[in-house]
C-alpha cells in the first residue's frame, strides 16, 4: 500500500511499523520504527502520560520524515 500510494498518487508516505527489515524488503521509503507488533504507535506499559509522549514523539518524527527529501530508503531513528 505504501509503495502504491507513492507510485500511483504521488503522495509521500511514512510507514510506522515495528519490524524494520520487512519494511525495507517490501520497499517502503520513509520508515519510522514502531514500538512493538501489538502496539506499534504507543507504549501502554508507560501509563497514560508516558504513552501520550511516545505517540506524540512518533507522530512528530513521522511528520519530519515526510518533509525530508530522499534519494533512497531511510530509517528515521529516534
Amino acid at each position: 500500500m505504501t509503495r502504491e500510494i507513492e507510485k500511483a498518487a504521488g503522495i509521500p508516505v511514512v510507514q510506522i511499523a515495528t519490524i524494520i527489515p520487512i519494511m525495507l524488503t517490501v520497499g517502503a521509503n520513509r520508515i519510522v520504527p514502531g514500538v512493538a507488533i501489538p502496539h506499534p504507535v504507543g507504549d501502554p506499559a508507560k501509563g497514560a502520560e508516558g504513552d501520550l509522549q511516545v505517540r506524540r514523539e512518533l507522530l512528530l518524527r513521522a511528520l519530519g520524515a515526510m518533509e525530508t527529501e530522499l534519494t533512497d530508503q531511510k530509517v528515521f531513528e529516534k
Partner: protein
C-alpha cells in the same frame, strides 16, 4: 543422559470400566477422566473419541498432546505443569504411542485449526492417524481469554498425563533409547565430526502466542540450551493459538523430528550439540538480541553448522532471516526449515522478509493453498468456528457441511519441524 521411551502401542480407543491398555486397545473411564481435569473456569466439559478413518471433524482444535508419564527419575510429566520443576530427559517414560489428547471448544484465539479423521483433509494432519480422546471444554461466562487459554492448556496436559499414569502398568511393546553425554563430553568423543546445533524457534509473542520451557514463559528469556533428551521428555509445552498449520503443538515438541534425525546421526556423521528453544519477539530489539545470543551460544559451543526451524509466519520470518544472517556471518553454516505464505496461486513472495545469507531453505508447503474437504458425518465442537479461523471465512462452510479453505486451517499441515507428509510428492 539416558532416556528410555517405553512405547505402549495404541491401536484402538474405547470407553471402559477401567482406564488401561489391553491388547493394544486404550480403554477410558469417561467419568474418571472428566474428574481428573475438573476446573471451575471450565464448567462444561465433554469427552469424545475420534479414530483414524472415521467420518469425524474436530473443530476448533487448540492443542494436541501425547499421553506420557515418568516411570523412573521423576513423576508426572511436563515439569512445571503436571510435575515438579525437575530436570527431565533421564530414566524411563511411558508413552501411549498412537494416542493423542485433543483440546477443543469455543474458540480461544482466532488461529486454531481443524482435524478431519478421514478424507482429503485428514491427509494433511498427523492427528488423523492418532486415536484421539477429545476434550471439549466451554469456559465460564466472562472468563478472561488468557485465563481461558491457560485453563484449556492445563486441562489438556492433565488429561494426557492422567491417561498415561492410569496405564502405567502396561507392558511396553518397544523401548526407544536416547543416550548422549554433555556437549563437552561428546566433543571429546567425536573430535572429527562436524558439530551441529539445532535452533528451534518458538512463538513467544504474548496475546495467546506463547511457549513454555520447564513451566515458565519463554518470552522474556534469553536463549538457553537444552539437551535433546529434555526436548524429547516434555520440557517444552505449547501455549499457542498461532496459525494452526505451523504451530508446534505439545505433541510435536516431544516428537520433534529434527531432534530425532540429528540424534540418529549423532556419533556417525555429526556431533549433535543440543537445542536452543529460541525466542521470536514482538519488538525489533528483541529479535536482534535473540538472534545475536543464539549465535553467541553456537560459537561458545564450537558449532560448525546449525539447523533452524521457524514457528509461525509473518514477522517471525525476520527472526529466521536474522538467525541465518548472523550465523552465516559468524562462519557457521545454516539450513532453515520454513513454510511459505505465497498466496492462493503460489505466486507471491513466500516470506515477509528475505536475506541473501539464507541460502539453504527447506519448504514445508504453502499455507495459502486452497483445499476442498467433504462433509463429515459427525462434528466435535462447532462447525461454524471455521469462519473465525485463520484460513477460513464465513463462506468457507457450505450448507452440506463441506468446506473450501486454506491449508493453514488444518492443524499441523505445514508444521516447520517437518512432522508431516506434505512434500513435492506424497511420502
Amino acid at each position: 543422559m539416558r532416556l528410555e521411551l517405553h512405547r505402549v502401542k495404541v491401536r484402538d480407543i474405547q470407553w471402559g470400566e477401567a482406564t488401561e491398555v489391553r491388547q493394544g486397545t486404550l480403554y477410558v473411564n469417561r467419568e474418571e477422566a472428566l474428574k481428573a481435569v475438573e476446573d471451575s473456569r471450565l464448567p462444561l466439559m465433554e469427552l469424545d473419541i475420534a479414530r483414524p478413518g472415521e467420518s469425524v471433524r474436530i473443530i476448533p482444535v487448540k492443542d494436541c498432546i501425547e499421553p506420557r508419564v515418568k516411570l523412573t527419575e521423576g513423576k508426572g510429566y511436563f515439569p512445571g505443569f503436571c510435575a515438579p520443576v525437575q530436570p527431565v530427559g533421564s530414566g524411563a517414560t511411558l508413552v501411549l504411542d498412537g494416542a493423542a489428547v485433543v483440546t477443543c471448544g469455543p474458540i480461544v484465539g482466532f488461529q486454531e485449526g481443524f482435524i478431519d479423521m478421514s478424507g482429503p483433509g485428514g491427509e494433511y494432519t498427523p492427528f488423523s492417524r492418532t486415536f484421539n480422546l477429545v476434550l471439549t471444554a466451554s469456559p465460564v461466562e466472562g472468563l478472561d481469554r488468557h485465563q481461558h487459554e491457560e485453563a484449556l492448556r492445563t486441562a489438556g496436559l492433565k488429561l494426557a498425563v492422567w491417561l498415561a499414569q492410569s496405564c502405567s502398568e502396561a507392558k511396553a511393546d518397544e523401548i526407544t533409547l536416547f543416550e548422549k553425554g554433555t556437549a563437552s563430553e561428546e566433543g571429546q568423543k567425536h573430535p572429527g565430526l562436524p558439530a551441529i546445533l539445532y535452533v528451534c524457534m518458538c512463538i513467544t509473542q504474548g496475546l495467546l502466542h506463547d511457549t513454555y520451557v520447564y513451566g515458565t514463559d519463554l518470552k522474556p528469556s534469553l536463549p538457553t540450551l537444552l539437551h535433546p533428551n529434555e526436548v524429547l521428555d516434555g520440557a517444552v509445552v505449547s501455549g499457542n493459538c498461532v496459525s494452526s498449520c505451523d504451530k508446534n503443538t505439545s505433541y510435536h515438541h516431544v516428537n520433534n523430528p529434527v531432534v530425532r534425525a540429528l540424534y540418529a546421526r549423532h556419533g556417525k556423521d555429526l556431533n549433535f550439540l543440543g537445542v536452543i528453544p529460541a525466542v521470536e519477539s514482538t519488538v525489533m530489539d528483541g529479535k536482534l538480541r535473540s538472534a545475536a545470543m543464539n549465535v553467541r551460544l553456537g560459537r561458545e559451543l564450537g558449532a560448525d553448522g546449525v539447523v533452524i526451524s521457524e514457528e509461525g509466519y509473518g514477522n517471525p520470518d525476520t527472526d529466521l532471516c536474522l538467525n541465518a544472517r548472523f550465523f552465516e556471518q559468524a562462519g557457521i553454516k545454516t539450513v532453515v526449515i520454513s513454510d511459505e505464505a505465497a498466496g492462493t496461486d503460489g505466486a507471491s513472495q513466500s516470506l515477509a522478509d528475505a536475506t541473501p545469507e539464507m541460502n539453504a531453505f527447506i519448504s514445508t508447503g504453502n499455507v495459502n493453498e486452497m483445499i476442498e474437504v467433504p462433509p463429515m458425518d459427525k462434528v466435535i465442537g462447532d462447525p461454524a468456528a471455521i469462519s473465525l479461523l485463520s484460513g477460513g471465512a464465513a463462506e468457507s462452510l457450505r450448507p452440506d457441511g463441506s468446506m473450501h479453505v486454506e491449508l493453514q486451517s488444518v492443524i499441523g499441515s505445514t508444521v516447520e519441524i517437518g512432522y508431516s507428509r506434505v512434500g513435492c510428492e506424497w511420502i
